[in-house]
């Protein structure tokens, strides 16, 4: 909707009262034009589209994570509809390949276009480490649906992470929460004292394994072996032998496929690890791991995906409704849990744009600093629960669960078999 006065000046500020609109119409009529803040503003002429982008792996081994994220963006954009009559375009989806160099390339391509307002992404923390400084420097905002590395935001105690950059937000949980949840489960529910942790050098796996180690030691346990595999490794006997030397009662290895599969397949051949409890995280909460017979018995942590009838207060859609629409539109169930985080992240960005957009004449102005300020204070109910950001961009309600996977021929039962849940 646009308001037209006699001189052809159109303006409106969404989400404010009619009185404010009237005051601003007068101001505009008096000849004042839009003044951009220190980061500048995006000008969207009539007939053009508001540009947002997405980054995530949509080809390759980790496409199972990036593709549902992208679809979450598409669905939220469709559900939200146009802003002040301007439609929103996500352009060509950027493929970040789940790697730092992929994230860097995607980030550079995005910041080269000054019309881009904000980015939904990245999917992987490794991509974000490279993309977030570029996007921050360009004055844009990015909201990740599935980055969980603590380095990207903060230690949740007031200190910024090493890779935090202003303008970065996320609707995924901080892995300090997930690491703590796993540590609490192993220490208090299973009553174990000694654990080992294995990561693969990726910021996500390293951050989560470290968070687990810190929390487990804080709870009085010991972690004698904290080690890593290389991405691409197939022979796990060396790393498992190293782990066995520490005589752990539990092993937490929050790594990806195929390395995670090799670990459970080869652990039977390692003496000393016959009775060890295995735990991993959301990267292995996927079908092609869970259908391995050797994966039976493992505990898998991840975001609480029991969204039920949670409703996104911005678009008015319920989680069950969005999920049904997702299946109908794309012909398959989401292959990873973060489609809902992506939907909420997109709704959040679109609402913030609508809140700060100023229409002057035939042009919409979106002030970049105002957009960041608005995101900092925006609170709403999402599909994933209540969303609101702290000063370092952690916006997730942070609900984490552990499931016990016991039957490789019934994967869905494993995903729903919640044995522990935790909220900070």
């Amino acid at each position: 909707m646009a308001i037209n006065n006699g001189e052809g000046v159109k303006m409106r500020r969404a989400g404010t009262s009619a009185l404010l609109v009237a005051v601003m119409m007068v101001a505009a009529a008096c000849g004042e034009s839009f003044e951009a803040g220190e980061l500048g503003a995006v000008e969207v002429a009539e007939g053009e589209e508001i540009q947002i982008r997405s980054i995530g792996p949509i080809t390759g081994d980790v496409a199972f994570l990036g593709v549902p994220n992208l679809r979450g963006v598409e669905m939220a954009v469709a559900d939200y509809g146009p802003i002040e009559g301007w439609s929103v375009s996500i352009g060509t989806p950027m493929d970040g390949l789940c790697s730092p160099d992929g994230g860097q390339a995607a980030g550079q391509a995005i910041v080269a276009d000054p019309q881009v307002v904000g980015v939904i992404g990245t999917a992987c923390s490794g991509e974000a480490v490279a993309a977030s400084p570029l996007i921050s420097d360009a004055g844009m905002v990015m909201i990740s649906p599935s980055n969980t590395s603590p380095a990207l935001t903060s230690d949740m105690a007031g200190t910024a992470g090493t890779d935090y950059h202003v303008g970065y937000y996320r609707t995924a949980h901080n892995d300090l929460i997930q690491g703590r949840a796993v540590a609490l489960f192993v220490r208090n529910e299973l009553g174990l004292d000694v654990a080992a942790a294995i990561h693969d050098g990726d910021p996500y796996t390293n951050g989560l394994a470290t968070a687990f180690k810190d929390a487990f030691e804080e709870l009085g346990g010991t972690v004698p072996v904290f080690t890593a595999v290389n991405k691409g490794d197939t022979d796990m006997s060396a790393v498992l032998t190293e782990v066995a030397a520490g005589n752990p009662q539990a092993i937490f290895f929050p790594i990806f496929m195929p390395e995670g599969g090799f670990v459970v397949q080869q652990i039977g051949g390692i003496s000393g690890l016959e009775d060890v409890v295995l735990l991993s995280a959301d990267a292995l909460l996927v079908d092609n791991f869970m259908e391995l017979p050797e994966s039976e018995g493992i505990y898998l942590s991840g975001p609480d995906v029991r969204y039920g009838d949670n409703t996104n207060s911005i678009t008015g859609q319920s989680a069950s409704g969005v999920l049904a629409a997702y299946s109908a539109r794309y012909g398959e169930e989401p292959s990873a849990a973060f489609w809902a985080h992506s939907y909420d992240a997109t709704a959040m960005l679109l609402q913030a744009i609508a809140n700060v957009a100023v229409v002057d004449g035939d042009t919409m102005y979106i002030d970049r600093q105002a957009l960041r300020d608005d995101l900092n204070s925006l609170e709403f109910d999402g599909l994933i629960g209540s969303v609101g950001c702290d000063q370092f961009g952690d916006c997730s309600p942070g609900l984490v669960t552990l499931v016990h996977h016991t039957n490789s021929s019934d994967i869905e039962a494993g995903k729903g078999n919640v044995v522990f849940s935790f909220a900070p």
């Binding site: 890593a228 290389n230 197939t234 030397a245 051949g269 050797e294």
Partner: protein
Amino acid sequence: MDTFLWIVRVGAIILLIWGVAGTVVQGLSGQGPTGEAWRDLVVAGIAQGAMYGLIALGYSMVYGVLGFINFAHGEVFMSGGMVGFFVANYLWEVRLWETNFVLAILLVLLSSILTSTLVAVIVERIAYRPLRASPRLIPLITSIGISFFLQYTFAGLFGVAVKNYPPPPDSLRSRVSLLGLEIEGSKLLVIVVAVATMVGLYLFVEKTRTGRSIRAVAEDKEIAALMGIDVNRTIVATFAVGGAMAGVAGTLWALLFRGVSFITGFLPGIKAFTAAVLGGIGNLPGAMAGGVLLGLFEGVGPQLVLAGFGIPGVSQLKDVVAFTALVLVLIFKPTGLFGERLSAEDRA
């Protein structure tokens, strides 16, 4: 003699002794891996190394005959493992895998060997033969291109997901007693098959007519041609034999690791090339020994040398250990452990 090289050599030996001594001290004080763990590391290292050796043979044979490194050989290996998966999966579905595992694995082995041989021969015919007269760098670069071509052809045909072979029978997963050592059945089988294949290849090259012509062409292509040897046929035979060895390695890989994907050939390919250089390129017993040694370095080295320095997370550094071992061997013996075998023109 270069003084700098001597300093490097002495320094390397001191570091090596220091690291091993540190590990021994740790072991004596009750830290570090147990005796059984060391045994498992050694066995796993030899099993992995035997596979590197089988792949390394292909690099070495082609280098011996044509004088260039066929970087697509890792993909020749992967193609066998990949097609073997589909055969194994079918045999699992018709339940032959469970009822008669020996027959099933022989069928898988056969399909893997046939595929790898075929891929190697086709690549030679299409990509390398037209470049026979070009400078060596041209087929070398071509082989890198063929490597990518094969990887992404398989990715396009069969998808990017990891394909898991059906689980081997329990008898292979339990431990077998050999000379007082309890060894995992599948690793023992891998080592036995690899050694048998290597012995077979050695006899083939040394005792048969085709083997003799391969050696003659490797020695000097022109003289061999003058002696009535069909050089083209011999080169095809070389690629075929190298491919067959890679096919055997593909099935052994499946027995050990079970997972194959389009990218599976890349790292083993690089490692096998390293093994071939370690043993002395062009030298077949060298390639076999180089493979086993490299596997051992990788398997045991991090725990044996690096752990002694108190470095955490040593197993992630196994590639560092493997390639450092290569550098050290080349510093001490630049032609590899068993010496290079070069053709007449290369020697000149």
